[in-house]
């Protein structure tokens, strides 16, 4: 009886929780479609090709406005670039160092140990260049938005040239299906052939969006592959240990049953 009660109540609650809740404030965007990411699931890993193509999209398109300030150039070895390639990439950027012996700050080429150079010196400069909107830092984007990678992919592919009938967009805003409130200051950043891939992959809008999303998912969770790999070992170990503990429990309790 008790068990039936418990199960019934849990079921009832699950039913309540599971059913849709209509929100009085229509601030949510549409629910993004789930994509088949290479890093999904307990065995998931990042597709190295997608990572490198995604870095290309980031650096050729996004980096004009969006910083990636939690990453260092040295981290790029993890997406499959060689230390020499990373050194070359870093050297393309200038960082301020110092003070030198004369007490002055000076510019020098970035080293792999330096953080990614941000496109704007500070928030005010970023807003000034973007009609008052602040392009957010992308270092944690897939962890910092509900829906994660699916949402990001939806956002990048979800622009509509014309807003639905009855919706009036203010000057400088764009209509996006998935952005909360549907009005986004960022103009459609990607399109077919937004970049030219060296590996011959056809740069469709969907492809570049997926690639850059994969890259940003890695940027947000660089530990993901190590985490899942270690996780499987830990779970297997715990299964064995728990099994042994259960056998021992049965054996010790034998005289009591």
């Amino acid at each position: 009886m008790k068990k039936i009660n418990a199960i019934a109540s849990i079921l009832a609650v699950a039913l309540i929780f599971g059913s849709a809740v209509s929100s009085a404030t229509a601030s949510e965007g549409a629910k993004p479609h789930a994509q088949d990411w290479s890093f999904n699931g307990i065995f998931g890993t990042f597709d190295r090709g997608a990572l490198q193509r995604g870095y290309q999209v980031y650096s050729e398109v996004c980096a004009a406005c969006h910083a990636l300030r939690l990453l260092s150039y040295r981290n790029l070895t993890a997406i499959g670039l060689s230390p020499d390639q990373v050194k070359k990439i870093a050297a393309e950027f200038e960082v301020t160092d110092g003070p030198n012996d004369e007490g002055e700050m000076f510019q020098r080429p970035a080293r792999p140990s330096d953080r990614f150079v941000s496109p704007f010196a500070n928030e005010n400069a970023a807003r000034a260049s973007n009609n008052g909107a602040l392009p957010p830092d992308l270092s944690l984007m897939t962890k910092a938005r509900k829906g994660g990678a699916d949402y990001l992919h939806g956002l990048l592919t979800g622009y509509k040239e014309e807003p639905p009938a009855g919706v009036k967009l203010p000057e400088g805003m764009n209509y996006n299906l998935y952005f909360p409130g549907n009005q986004i200051a960022m103009a459609p950043p990607l399109a077919d052939d937004a970049v030219k891939y060296a590996d011959g992959t056809k740069a469709t809008l969907d492809q570049v969006s997926s690639d850059v999303t994969t890259f940003l998912a890695w940027a947000a969770e660089p530990e993901l592959e190590e985490r899942k790999r270690l996780g499987i070992k830990v779970m297997l170990f715990l299964l064995v240990l728990t099994g042994m503990l259960y056998a021992l429990k049965v054996s010790i309790w034998k005289d009591q049953h």
């Binding site: 140990s113 021992l248 054996s251």
Partner: protein
């Protein structure tokens, strides 16, 4: 239950106790490792391991101290006399025998970590009016270790010569330490 069944049970249980304890102990030890390893230098600390030094402003007979990995590095433009004393020292007189030429890449530039090999104090001798010890190099005030003009230990409790870090000349006047 027969006697043999009881002993079987008991030996089965003993085996389970021992094997489970071993597996459990190994698991606990492995679980402690991330906590221990987290105290080792982090990736960003390891990446920051080079320092560049500009030699041009240093005059003959002068020393400067630069910071590398949070430690002082002595860079000394040695005089001809200092180089000669360093070369003249007999290896058998040295507590930690090492030829001067094995401690420098260019004879006039001596580059070494300025941390006494005894207990980690910073030896004196960088400034013109510092005590330089009995061998004209450096003198550690903490426990009285004397270093010569090659930074080798000559007298006192320090067991080893001042440590020479890895470095390379980027140009005639630029050195990268680390």
């Amino acid at each position: 239950m027969s006697d043999s069944a009881i002993t079987d049970d008991k030996s089965r249980r003993d085996f389970l106790i021992i094997s489970t304890s071993v597996v459990g102990a190994v698991g606990t030890a492995l679980a402690a490792w991330p906590l221990v390893d987290s105290m080792n230098p982090a990736a960003d600390t390891l990446a920051l391991s080079t320092t560049e030094v500009d030699l041009a402003p240093i005059k003959e007979g002068q020393s400067i101290t630069v910071v590398w990995r949070g430690k002082p590095v002595f860079v000394r433009y040695r005089t001809a006399a200092e180089i000669k004393t360093a070369n003249d020292a007999k290896l058998e007189d040295l507590p930690d025998p090492q030829a001067d030429k094995d401690r420098v890449k260019k004879a006039q530039w001596l580059i070494m970590v300025g941390v006494c090999t005894h207990l980690g104090c910073i030896p004196l001798g960088q400034k013109a009016n510092d005590p330089k010890g009995e061998f004209g190099g450096w003198f550690c005030p903490c426990h009285g270790s004397h270093y010569d003009t090659s930074g080798r230990i000559r007298k006192g409790p320090a067991p080893e010569n001042l440590f020479v870090p890895e470095y390379k000349y980027l140009s005639d006047t630029k050195v990268q330490i680390g």
